[in-house]
C-alpha cells in the first residue's frame, strides 16, 4: 500500500444515488485491477470530521485518468486534491479460460462489477448480471453494452435460474454488509445443489465490503470468518471464495 495524491478533474452525477469522478492519478495507480480500490481522505476537511477514510471504487481506467464511482451524498469538487492510500484489496480472481460469468447484485448497487465487466467483455467473456432491489436503480447505460441484464425478484428468483447457474463458469455476488452472511450463504447452497460434485476454487465468490478502519490489514476489524485461516476483507478481499467462509 502506498500513499499518493490525486486531482479531481470532473464530477458527474449519474443518478440519484451515485456520481462518477475522473481523477488524474499517480502512474502507479494505473496498475489497479478490478476489485482493487482507493482509500481516500480530503485535504480540505474541516478538522477531523468525517474521520475515517472513504473507499472509492474504480469503474474505468484510461490513459492518465481513473474514474471512480461514489455515493452522490459525498462532497466532491473539481480541482480538489485528495490523499489516496492504495491499493485496498486484491484483484478479483477470474477463473482461467472463463467463458460465461454470472454476476448477482442483490439489493446493492453493482458499482464493484462495472470495471470487471468492462475489462472482461472486451476479452470475449459473456456476462450476465442479475439485479434485484436497490440494484435495479443503477443506471444501466453505465455498464458495457455487452452485459446481459436479468431482473430478479425480491425472493431471489429469476427466469431460467437453474440454467444460468449451469452455464456459468464462475459466480460473483454482491450484497450490502448487513445482508452478506444471509445472501452469500444462500448462494452457496444453490450452487451446491446444482454442482454437487465439483466446486472448483473461486467458482462462487462473495464480494465483502465492510466499514474499514485501517484498510491496511492491521486492525483485524474487517475479518471474514473462514474455515482455514484468517481472512481480512481489506487485505484479502473484496472477492472471497465462499467455500472458505463460515456462515453463522
Amino acid at each position: 500500500m502506498r500513499e499518493t495524491q490525486a486531482l479531481i478533474e470532473r464530477v458527474r452525477r449519474v443518478s440519484a444515488d451515485v456520481q462518477q469522478i475522473d481523477l488524474a492519478v499517480d502512474p502507479a495507480l494505473m496498475q489497479l485491477k478490478p476489485g482493487q480500490a482507493l482509500f481516500v481522505r480530503r485535504h480540505n476537511q474541516h478538522g477531523w470530521e468525517p474521520y475515517l477514510r472513504e473507499l472509492w471504487i474504480p469503474v474505468d481506467m484510461r490513459p492518465g485518468r481513473l474514474t471512480v464511482e461514489i455515493a452522490s451524498s459525498l462532497d466532491a469538487a473539481p480541482n480538489e486534491i485528495v490523499d489516496v492510500l492504495s491499493p485496498v484489496g486484491r484483484p478479483i480472481p477470474v477463473r482461467p479460460r472463463i467463458q460465461h460469468l454470472l454476476l448477482i447484485a442483490d439489493d446493492a448497487l453493482p458499482t464493484p462489477f462495472v470495471f470487471l465487466a468492462r475489462t472482461l467483455s472486451g476479452g470475449g467473456v459473456a456476462i450476465t448480471l442479475v439485479l434485484n432491489g436497490l440494484a435495479a436503480r443503477y443506471p444501466l447505460e453505465l455498464l458495457s453494452p455487452e452485459v446481459e441484464i436479468v431482473r430478479g425478484d425480491a425472493d431471489w428468483s429469476w427466469p431460467d435460474q437453474v440454467a444460468t447457474f449451469q452455464w456459468a463458469d464462475q459466480v460473483l455476488i454482491l450484497a450490502p454488509g448487513y445482508r452478506q452472511a444471509d445472501a452469500y450463504g444462500r448462494l452457496l447452497d444453490r450452487v451446491r445443489q446444482i454442482r454437487t460434485h465439483d466446486l472448483p476454487d473461486h467458482y462462487a465468490c462473495g464480494l465483502f465490503y465492510d466499514r474499514l478502519a485501517c484498510g491496511a490489514g492491521a486492525c483485524g476489524a474487517c475479518e471474514v470468518r473462514a474455515h482455514d485461516t484468517l481472512l481480512l476483507a481489506c487485505a484479502d478481499g473484496p472477492a472471497i471464495d465462499l467455500k472458505r467462509v463460515v456462515f453463522r
Binding site: L52, R53, L85, A213, C214, A216, A218, E223
Partner: protein, 315 residues
C-alpha cells in the same frame, strides 16, 4: 535514550519516545512498511494477543462518530503460540523494537504468554492490557504472573479507573504504565439500526487521557507512557509536559499514517524545516513549527537529563 520501565536489572530503553498503540499496527508493522519509515519509531506495540486464539467479534465492528470512531474487534488473534510461530522471525528482523501486548484474561494465561515470549529475538517488553473491572488484587496477581518472563512489563490501565489502577499496578511492581486504554461507549450502528458497543477513539479523547496522565505522573514513581487522542506532534508534547516519558499514537495512524512518523521525528529531535534544506520526503506541514514551539515552551520544559518533575497540572 528513553527509559520506559523503572531502573533495575533489565530496564526497557528505546530511542524515540513515540510508538503506535496496541491494536493499531498489526502484529509486526508490515501493513505500514510502505507508508512510513518504521526505523523512526521508538517501538512497535503489537495487536493484543491472548493465550487462546480469538475470532473477530460478531456484528458491528466499526461505527463512525463525530470526529472519531467506535471500534469493537473482539481482539482477533491466533493465540500466543501461533502468533509467536508466525511472527518470531519477523520480530527478529524488525526495524523497531517489539513490545507484545498481552490481554490480561487471567493470571495463568498471562503467565503462559510471558513465558512463551521469553527469548523471542526483537521482543523487548510486554504490555499487559488490564481489564476494565480489574481490582487491585487482580492487578497484583496478573503482574505477578508476568514475572514468568524476564522481559520488562508495562501495565496498560483503563481510562475510567486510571488513577486507582495505576497506583495498584505501580505497587504490584509494574515496570511502567501506559495511560490510558480508551473508554467504552454505546452508539447506534446506522447500518443495522441497533445500539452497539465498543471502544471510542478520536482527537477529543486527548483531554480525558491527558488529565489522567497528569494525575498519575504526580502520584507514582514509575515511568508513564501517555496514550489517547494524540493527533499531532503538539498533542504528543503536551503528554510529555504532563509527565509522560513517551507516547502511543492510536487511530490517527489509520487516518493519516504519515502523522505517526511526523510525530516520531518531531519528538525524536529531528527538527526539520523546508528552509533548512530538509529532503522533501522528510518534510510535512507543521514540521517547520517544531523549533518555534519548543522555544515558546522552554519555560515549562525541563531540558536537563533528569526526568522533569511532573508539573502541577490543573484538574
Amino acid at each position: 535514550m528513553i527509559q520506559l520501565t523503572r531502573s533495575g536489572k533489565n530496564p526497557l530503553v528505546i530511542e524515540t519516545p513515540v510508538m503506535p498503540a496496541a491494536g493499531i499496527f498489526g502484529f509486526d508493522g508490515a501493513a505500514y512498511r510502505d507508508l512510513l519509515d518504521l526505523t523512526k519509531l521508538g517501538a512497535i506495540v503489537t495487536n493484543p494477543v491472548t493465550w487462546r486464539p480469538r475470532r473477530v467479534a460478531h456484528g458491528t465492528r466499526v461505527v463512525p462518530l463525530p470526529a472519531g470512531v467506535l471500534v469493537h474487534t473482539g481482539l482477533p488473534n491466533p493465540g500466543m503460540r501461533r502468533t509467536i510461530a508466525r511472527f518470531r522471525a519477523r520480530w527478529a528482523r524488525s526495524l523497531a523494537p517489539v513490545i507484545v501486548h498481552v490481554v490480561a484474561t487471567s493470571p495463568a494465561e498471562v503467565g503462559l504468554c510471558a513465558a512463551a515470549l521469553e527469548g523471542c529475538e526483537g521482543v523487548v517488553g510486554i504490555e499487559i492490557g488490564l481489564h476494565d473491572q480489574a481490582t487491585p488484587d487482580d492487578i497484583a496477581a496478573i503482574l505477578d504472573a508476568a514475572r514468568e518472563s524476564t522481559l520488562p512489563a508495562l501495565a496498560r490501565v483503563p481510562l475510567y479507573s486510571a488513577v486507582e489502577s495505576a497506583r495498584a499496578a505501580a505497587e504490584a511492581g509494574a515496570g511502567g504504565l501506559v495511560v490510558a486504554a480508551p473508554p467504552r461507549g454505546t452508539v447506534r450502528d446506522p447500518e443495522s439500526g441497533q445500539l452497539v458497543g465498543g471502544r471510542v477513539y478520536g482527537p477529543w479523547l486527548k483531554a480525558q487521557a491527558l488529565r489522567a496522565v497528569g494525575q498519575i505522573a504526580r502520584l507514582v514513581d514509575v515511568p508513564v507512557i501517555g496514550c489517547g487522542g494524540i493527533h499531532s506532534a503538539d498533542d504528543a508534547r503536551d503528554f510529555l509536559e504532563a509527565g509522560a516519558v513517551a507516547v502511543q499514537v492510536d487511530t490517527v495512524t489509520w487516518v493519516q499514517p504519515r502523522l505517526l512518523e511526523v510525530i516520531a521525528r518531531n519528538l525524536g529531535g529531528l527538527e526539520l524545516t523546508r528552509v533548512a534544506g530538509a529532503l522533501p520526503d522528510e518534510w510535512q506541514p507543521g514540521m517547520s513549527e517544531t523549533m518555534r514551539l519548543l522555544r515558546d515552551r522552554r519555560p515549562t520544559l525541563d531540558l536537563d537529563d533528569d526526568p522533569p518533575a511532573p508539573p502541577d497540572l490543573p484538574e
